[in-house]
């Protein structure tokens, strides 16, 4: 069951450059999407979210873009910093249809930002 897919297991970028992490989904009922960051031995930490009524949401260095027709979202980090090195998870839910709001996660992308 691969409703949410992150096809790149890892990404390496130079400090100061842009990091772009991608996520694809198959379930057209998903209407709320989130990005979480995770360090080893810690729980996922919320970064940014987007509702399906929007195509972009920005918070400081982090911007999430949603392309509903392509069922694709991406997280842009500009500029990337060494402290951004972590595993990034994309997650989705059927917020409108399911009040319980369970999250379906992608496999994660490990970002490494090199000084």
């Amino acid at each position: 069951d691969q409703q949410v897919k992150q096809n790149s297991p890892s990404l390496s970028v130079q400090e100061g450059r842009i990091s772009i992490l991608n996520c694809d989904y198959t379930n057209s009922m998903f209407d709320y999407f989130l990005w979480y960051k995770k360090y080893p031995a810690e729980g996922p930490t919320f970064l940014i979210s987007i509702s399906s009524i929007k195509d972009k949401n920005e918070d400081g260095r982090f911007t999430v873009f949603l392309n509903k027709s392509a069922k694709h979202l991406s997280l842009h980090i500009v500029p990337s910093q060494p402290g951004d090195s972590a595993v990034y998870f994309c997650a989705a839910s059927e917020a409108l249809y399911n009040q319980g709001g369970k999250l379906i996660f992608g496999q994660g992308t490990e970002l490494s930002v090199k000084p």
Binding site: G43, T45, N98, Q99, G101, K102, F105, Q107, G108
Partner: protein, 114 residues
């Protein structure tokens, strides 16, 4: 800043034993969740809990699993008879009333079944 806490951080148990994993959600949150992550795999939903009852559960959450909110602050996950394949990180999460409210995760409990 309020946070979700979990105890213990690491639990080692023998196959067939019962374990209870504990969580203290954020105090004004109303929905509570358990997720797990087997090493090298994705984070998987187990169960959601609202108004003192299960609102949804996954196929993983079979009769060996149960959840409880015994005292209005703690939220527990019990595994009655652990199997080797139950070894994983277990994360508790909580959120407010709206389905678009952010789920905040605890640091996790690493369960090792020998």
């Amino acid at each position: 800043e309020p946070e979700v806490t979990q105890t213990p951080s690491h639990q080692v148990t023998q196959m067939g034993q019962e374990v209870i994993l504990r969580c203290v959600p954020i105090s004004n949150h109303l929905y509570f969740y358990w997720y797990r992550q087997i090493l090298g795999q994705k984070v998987e939903f187990l169960v959601s809990f609202y108004n003192n009852e299960i609102s949804e559960k996954s196929e993983i959450f079979d009769d060996q699993f149960s959840v409880e909110r015994p005292d209005g602050s703690n939220f527990t996950l019990k595994i009655r008879s652990t199997k080797l394949e139950d070894s994983a990180m277990y994360f508790c999460a909580s959120r407010g009333l709206l389905s678009t409210d952010t789920q905040y995760f605890g640091p996790g409990t690493r369960l090792t079944v020998l």
